[in-house]
């Protein structure tokens, strides 16, 4: 009985693993994409390299966790996290970035302040909650649906659905609403927007608030599966900024698409390299882009 049986089974198994990895890549890619477009929104408009965005991302998860542990309905907790993060974003712009701007701070100074804010947010979270991983107390999250041999958890399906909706929402918002158009006007020329009474400084507050609200979505959804950690925001943000740069600064779709591509490459690399080196893969992609196409794939003409 030494037929071709085992070989076929082996082939089938690797095939299934490959498919599972591709789907996992799509899920993390969508979540990452929302981080990337929210960061890109801030960066393209305010020109601030908003490192503290990683902190806002982490805050979202902890707020949802706190509410869910106190028996608040899950959906309400998600909405609350989005609102709190939006408020936090507005405060950051109003109290920190706008002030630095008024004092004529250089780019480097703003960047260092942003890094300081990230350290503050992370360590407040570590002090109030704990530096260890927290799991969400939701029984439905780990329930799985099997589709053609591929198993997906409810949270994974939810993540993809919400994140793609968020992406579509941002694209629609930027092109078809007055505020969206105003934001794009300020992004393309702050000086001109200023003299035509578009009030760039008010727009900046809106932009950081909106971006912080959006980043709360993956900030809540990703930890549903992987758990929460106070210092867990840096790697996603770094990957997202790489996706933004590779996609071309100013291109929302570019950032979202490249996030998925990078997440797919990371997942596929698991076939050859252990997972703890995935930061190396991400960084390798960045270096390749820096060497061959520093303006990104879909960069607007500037």
């Amino acid at each position: 009985m030494e037929g071709p049986g085992p070989a076929i089974t082996m082939g089938l198994v690797t095939h299934m693993i490959l498919l599972q990895l591709l789907i996992n890549g799509l899920i993390t890619g969508c979540a990452l994409g929302v981080v990337a477009i929210s960061f890109a929104l801030v960066y393209a408009t305010t020109r601030i390299f908003h490192v503290a965005h990683a902190g806002v991302y982490t805050v979202a998860g902890y707020i949802a966790w706190l509410l869910v542990s106190h028996a608040v309905p899950d959906l309400l907790a998600l909405v609350a996290a989005v609102l709190v993060c939006a408020a936090l974003g507005a405060l950051i712009q109003q109290l920190l970035y706008a002030r630095l701007e008024r004092r004529g701070a250089t780019h480097l100074v703003v960047l260092i302040a942003s890094l300081g804010l990230l350290a503050v947010i992370q360590n407040i979270l570590a002090a109030v909650f704990s530096p260890d991983i927290l799991q969400f107390p939701i029984p439905w999250g780990s329930r799985t649906i099997a589709v053609g041999g591929i198993s997906l958890t409810y949270t994974q399906v939810l993540t993809v659905a919400i994140c793609i909706t968020a992406y579509a929402g941002v694209v629609w918002f930027a092109h078809f609403t007055t505020l969206g158009k105003r934001i794009r006007a300020v992004a393309s020329n702050p000086f001109l927007a200023g003299i035509t009474r578009l009030q760039p400084n008010t727009v900046y507050v809106y932009v950081v608030a909106i971006a912080s609200g959006i980043v709360a979505l993956p900030g809540v959804l990703v930890p549903l599966d992987l758990g929460l950690q106070p210092y867990g925001g840096i790697t996603p943000l770094l990957t997202a900024t790489i996706a933004m740069i590779a996609g071309g600064v100013g291109s929302i779709s570019g950032a979202f698409l490249l996030s998925i591509v990078i997440a797919e490459l990371q997942n596929l690399s698991l076939l050859v390299i252990p997972g703890e080196w995935s930061i190396g893969i991400t960084f390798f992609i960045f270096v390749i882009f820096m060497l061959f196409r520093p303006t990104g794939l879909f960069s607007a003409a500037r």
């Binding site: 630095l100 260092i112 302040a113 300081g116 840096i234 790489i242 080196w277």
Partner: protein, 288 residues
């Protein structure tokens, strides 16, 4: 007494690291959160050669570490010279996270998360240094040498050119100076300082693990430079001595040890924000 000596030794090591960070952040004007990674590479290389089956004397091991760190720092800094400053933020974070991954996961070379214990004390020209006093004196001597080096370079024509680049890069280029070469040289010097600090750190503590060289350590270095003040020698000396004294003050307050690391990092973050808002030039520095 031993407590004071070890404070002095560690502060000396951090002064070298402060100068290294200052060269990049203050003088070349690029944001760097990866100097702790270079520091770690220096420490691990020296530790590796001192603990090899056929141990090497301290100074040759340090020389190898210096060469490696110079090349590494040039390699890290080069992208910032090719692309705009913001992209270098990504490079810098990326290098730091990558270095932490290597220190933690490459168990064969670095001992992994549990680190490398039992690094022998250094020797100088065949004389084995043993007591804490001798080791401290070595660290202080290292600090004095690097400070002297920094001071001499900054008052030389090369140092003036570095300052000019920070003010107006195009003007320097228009004057026929090679901006690229100047920046690469500054990065190389920063790498050498970090390597010396790494070698002294590994031999002074006789134990290293990845937690001394992670992103938090880089933020600590940045805090030291920011508190002391960018671009001046005095700033880079005052910053480390003050910031390193902070944890000692924290131990006077009754904070549980599990919370101490978090409290420290929280204070560093607050210091970064406060100084950027109210005194970007630090205590004894120049405008950043």
């Amino acid at each position: 007494m031993d407590f004071l000596l070890s404070y002095l030794a560690l502060a000396s090591i951090y002064v070298m690291l402060g100068l290294s960070t200052n060269l990049l952040v203050g003088i070349v004007g690029i944001f760097s959160v990866s100097q702790a990674a270079v520091f770690g590479v220096g420490a691990y290389i020296v530790a590796h050669f001192l603990m090899a089956a056929d141990p090497m004397p301290f100074l040759p091991a340090l020389a190898i570490a210096i060469l490696c760190c110079i090349s590494l720092n040039i390699l890290i800094t080069l992208p910032s010279l090719r692309v705009s400053g913001d992209y270098f933020v990504v490079t810098s974070f990326g290098i730091q996270l990558l270095a932490t991954a290597v220190f933690t996961n490459w168990t064969a070379g670095t001992g992994g998360a549990s680190g490398m214990p039992g690094i022998p004390p250094p020797d100088l020209f065949g004389v084995q240094l043993q007591s804490t006093l001798q080791l401290t004196l070595l660290c202080v001597a290292g600090m004095v040498l690097t400070c002297l080096c920094f001071w001499l370079i900054m008052r030389a024509p090369f140092g003036r050119m570095l300052r000019a680049i920070r003010e107006d890069e195009r003007a320097v280029a228009a004057a026929g100076k090679s901006v690229l070469r100047a920046k690469v040289s500054a990065a190389a010097l920063a790498g050498a300082f970090a390597a010396v600090a790494g070698g002294l750190y590994a031999t002074f503590l006789s134990f290293i693990d990845p937690s001394s060289f992670d992103l938090d350590a880089s933020i600590l270095l940045l805090t030291m430079v920011v508190v002391g003040g960018a671009r001046t020698l005095a700033g880079s000396i005052v910053g480390p001595f003050l910031v390193l004294a902070l944890p000692q003050i924290l131990t006077l307050l009754d904070i549980p040890t599990s919370f101490a690391a978090t409290a420290r990092q929280l204070i560093y973050g607050l210091l970064l924000i406060a100084f950027m808002l109210f005194r970007p030039q630090g205590l004894l520095g120049e405008r950043l």
